[in-house]
Subunit: 135 residues, 2 copies
């Protein structure tokens, strides 16, 4: 476990919002400069955020043009604890067997016994947080 990693920009009192399988609302900037926000599963290892994705999506094109993201997560138990993590796409990993997709599915309560149909296209967006805003 690296959740106590002292280099993380995420305040310890809000790390649970990344550790729990909550929905993240991922903001990217479209090539025309307008904002796009999508609901996403995510993984968190105490240092980096990971998203499963396929490169045919608009979000991927957005990130190729501008690697900066914002992720918003709210505590569904109260609704009034929330976290915005800003960060930068550090790299894109291949996930040709869909293993990371399957990991996330299990994390979010939908374990799969076989890889997804689009496993060959699956990639992992690896994001490094640069700043956190909490409330």
């Amino acid at each position: 476990m690296t959740t106590l990693d002292q280099t993380s920009v995420v305040p310890p009192g809000f790390v649970d919002l990344l550790e729990r399988p909550l929905f993240g609302h991922l903001g990217t900037t479209r090539p025309d400069g307008s904002p796009q926000v999508n609901v996403m599963w995510f993984g968190w290892d105490g240092e980096l955020l990971r998203f499963t994705h396929i490169p045919q999506r608009q979000k991927y094109r957005n990130l190729q043009a501008d690697p900066r993201i914002s992720l918003s997560v709210v505590d569904p138990d109260t609704g009034y604890r929330y976290l915005e993590v800003r960060g930068v796409l550090e790299r894109v990993d291949d996930d040709p067997d869909g293993q990371f997709y399957m990991e996330l599915s299990a994390r979010y309560g939908h374990p799969m016994t076989a890889p997804p149909d689009d496993a060959a296209d699956r990639i992992v967006l690896v994001v490094r947080p640069t700043k956190a805003v909490t409330h």
Copy 2:
């Protein structure tokens, strides 16, 4: 009620996500082009989205520079029905008595008996949806 307004870009099957008092994740673009996402209460009259705000916030400065927004709402009952509404800030209304803030508070289950302390600064961001993406 104008929820059946035929001019709305929001598909009828997803309008409930705006009619219910759900949290919205509001994406704006910062002056440096990076995305910002904030959890927000919102109101919906079948045609326009409304947010209570104060002009001292970064979001307001973002919208002065670029009036385009994206609002992401997920159905908490399933987690797998969601709606992204893109739109444009059409105007900013004054709310000097904090009445709209109080309306939203009541809608979200926190009725108030007195205006908020910052009532004098309160404004209403009035957004016209231009496109909806559903899943």
